[in-house]
Assembly symmetry: C2
Homo-oligomer: 207 residues x 2
DNA sequence: TCGGAGTCTCTAACATAGTTCGATAACTCT
DNA sequence: AGAGTTATCGAACTATGTTAGAGACTCCGA
């Protein structure tokens, strides 16, 4: 056997360099825009020339893909750490605040993960599977609240991305959007409550 | 004086060529993607070489800008021709169906007008004013329904763009989204009715 | 210790972008 | 017909992603 530790050392260094490149890519993308990321600039930032990057990534899109996977993993981690109370309306609000917060705190990541408007880039099957996992986590949480109608997921996704878009492009600060989310979630919750129970949505303000 | 008709003839020809270039640009963008539009391809399509386009537009972004203005004008026209009944819920549904329909019938136009994800492009002040005009038209119509809360516009915009994004990226056909729009607008209408009148949203199904 | 194998990095170059320059052709008007 | 304006084009410049091939370095077995 002897799967030598030296081989591991090399793999470690390689992985460290990959991580360093990705970190530099995020910084450049946040500074200049995701689509404006150039391999020559990126290489300069990590002390290389452009072709050397091809020792670590097959192409520029492979870099985007690695960033996409990183972003998806960040979402899964953060999502898993989201503690809920068991009270549906509160949890609904918390989940939406989490989603919009996650998106707006890094617009570049949001563009990469959810807008998908980088000219020639489509995530690979592996990376896409990660984001599907995230969507399933959302679906599962909704199911835990009793929301199994697929239209609920559709509508909430629409509201989430729509609010995120507006918040990013209009004005990032202020609690204007926070109150709007609360409002929308109350509206939504009342709606589905009426659909199911008949009139359960009117009494409990749930706080 | 003699502001000669010949001079007009030239201006006409020039304007016709500009329109022809823009038409070809739309076709290419619809076929290959908005960001994949290249001046050399565009020039070939209209029987020119790339530098000749600079006699008609200052830059590639100027072409995008002209397309943006065209799209905004199309929106204003269609919006003005939207006949409403005076019944708030029906009109709300019709307006949202109109908006989402306008967006999904030409995803390239939607991307240009509302997503604004072309790498180096920002609409000029004049073109942007046109789109603001469109937003004001929506605002005015909402006010006509008694919806003056600015949050109403925010939320409806979010729902509109969010639903459009989903419909475009998931599956264009089917009435799944149409029913979702109806559902969302009923929900929204009941919500604002409750806010204002107290309990007017429960009795009238409004159809 | 030496040399081969593998890995990393570089220079040079290619194709394709948008764009500019300068010359040529076409057209308009006197 | 000649002057002035406009349109068009070939050549070239910069910047992009990408590839090929040549050195340099590390590791490992002989």
């Amino acid at each position: 056997m002897l799967e030598t530790p030296i081989r591991d050392r090399r793999a470690e260094r390689r992985e460290a360099t990959r991580a360093e490149i990705l970190e530099a890519a995020w910084e450049l993308a946040r500074a200049e825009g995701l689509a404006a990321l150039s391999l020559r600039d990126l290489a300069r930032k990590v002390g290389m020339k452009a072709p050397s990057l091809y020792s670590y990534f097959d192409s520029k899109n492979a870099i985007y893909d690695a960033m996409y996977a990183q972003g998806s993993r960040q979402y899964l981690e953060r999502d898993a750490g989201l503690g809920l109370t068991g009270e549906p309306l509160n949890d609904l609000k918390a989940a939406m605040h989490f989603f919009v917060g996650f998106c707006t705190e890094d617009p570049v990541r949001y563009q990469l993960l959810f807008q998908r408007t980088i000219p020639g880039f489509e995530p690979s099957a592996e990376s896409f599977a990660l984001s599907v996992e995230g969507l399933e986590a959302v679906q599962k949480r909704l199911a835990g609240m009793g929301l199994t109608d697929p239209r609920a997921l559709d509508l909430l996704t629409a509201v989430g991305t729509g609010l995120t878009d507006q918040q990013i492009s209009n004005d990032p600060g202020g609690d204007r959007w926070a109150r709007l989310i609360d409002d929308a979630m109350e509206m939504f919750y009342n709606h589905v409550s009426n659909r199911k129970g008949g009139g359960a949505g009117n009494d409990g303000h749930a706080r």
